[in-house]
């Protein structure tokens, strides 16, 4: 037994490395889960005045970080529109991240606007507070503004059904 110990160590180590090889390293768990959304005060995209974290808290909602330069944002746009409509509609707050304001407005005119509010984060400071590193990113917050889930990359019907809906149903109870 004792002679075989190095072989055993090697096998454990090998299994560990092999597992890591097939793990998705691009999605990093957010330390913000379970914490309130960061404070911010940003200009509105399509209206006068500022929008702050206090303004958007009150309902179970999504915070979606998007930009016109982001490919995934285009991919998920129709789904966002669907989620914003109908009896099961969920408020979606947009954070327009490091974008050109006029192209962002045109983008929404052409493709429809799923957002109840859009804050413009031109400098990217609020995005840093949200720990954003790749648009699109979608946060699920409860009626107290606590973050319950974060999805990085384009939202899909599957992700919505498997990740978001169970949490939303739990929050509603």
């Amino acid at each position: 037994m004792i002679k075989k110990l190095p072989v055993l160590i090697f096998l454990v180590f090998f299994a560990f490395l092999a597992k890591s090889l097939f793990q998705d390293q691009t999605e990093i768990p957010s330390p913000l889960i379970g914490k309130p959304i960061p404070t911010f005060s940003l200009p509105r995209l399509n209206a006068e005045g500022l929008v702050s974290d206090i303004d958007i808290v009150g309902k179970i909602s999504l915070i979606n970080v998007w930009a016109t330069w982001c490919v995934g944002c285009l991919e998920e746009h129709q789904l966002l529109i669907k989620l914003s409509q109908g009896s099961m509609a969920i408020p979606i707050i947009g954070i327009n991240w490091k974008d050109q304001t006029d192209s962002a407005i045109r983008w929404l005119e052409e493709r429809g606007n799923p957002y109840t509010e859009i804050a413009v984060d031109y400098e990217g400071k609020t995005a840093i507070d949200f720990g954003v590193y790749g648009a699109p990113e979608t946060f699920l917050i409860d009626d107290d503004g606590i973050i319950h889930y974060k999805h990085i990359g384009a939202l899909t019907v599957d992700v919505w059904a498997q990740e978001f809906l169970p949490i939303i149903n739990e929050l509603k109870q």
Binding site: I2, K3, L5, P6, I9, Q25, T26, I28, P29, S30, P31, L32, K98, E123, G124, K125, A127, I128, D129, F130, G131, V132, Y133, G134
Partner: protein, 124 residues
């Protein structure tokens, strides 16, 4: 020849132009800035530090770090700022906590195991 000189000079202009985040830092602050930006992982392009990366986010983080240094924040303040937003993965040298205890101690554990094994073998 003239063209060569121009090319040569333009390299400097580009180099100067890209270092705007460090404007207005004292030499000590600049040293601190350099040591931090080389330790922060660019999450968009995971195998580079934010010092090396041209990603927009890396630029934003460089500016943020420089501004915090100007405001008199310490290295630990700035690292905590990043950890609270991006998690342990953002630093190349992860902090020692409950989640990283195995990561930090496993080499020692392995060494002890091997040492123990070696002694057993040589005693036999």
């Amino acid at each position: 020849m003239k063209r060569k000189i121009l090319t040569f000079l333009s390299v400097f202009v580009i180099a100067i132009g890209s270092s705007t985040a460090m404007d207005g830092l004292t030499p000590e602050q600049e040293a601190l800035y350099q040591s931090i930006v080389h330790e922060v992982r660019c999450l968009v392009c995971q195998n580079q530090s934010i010092a090396e990366s041209n990603a927009e986010l890396a630029k934003d983080l460089r500016i943020e770090i420089a501004n915090q240094i100007k405001d008199g924040k310490t290295e630990q303040d700035i690292k905590n700022f990043l950890l609270n937003r991006y998690g342990d993965f953002v630093l190349y040298e992860p902090s020692f906590n409950k989640k990283t205890v195995f990561l930090w101690l496993s080499p020692l554990l392995l060494l002890l195991l091997i040492f123990g094994w070696y002694r057993k073998i040589s005693l036999n």
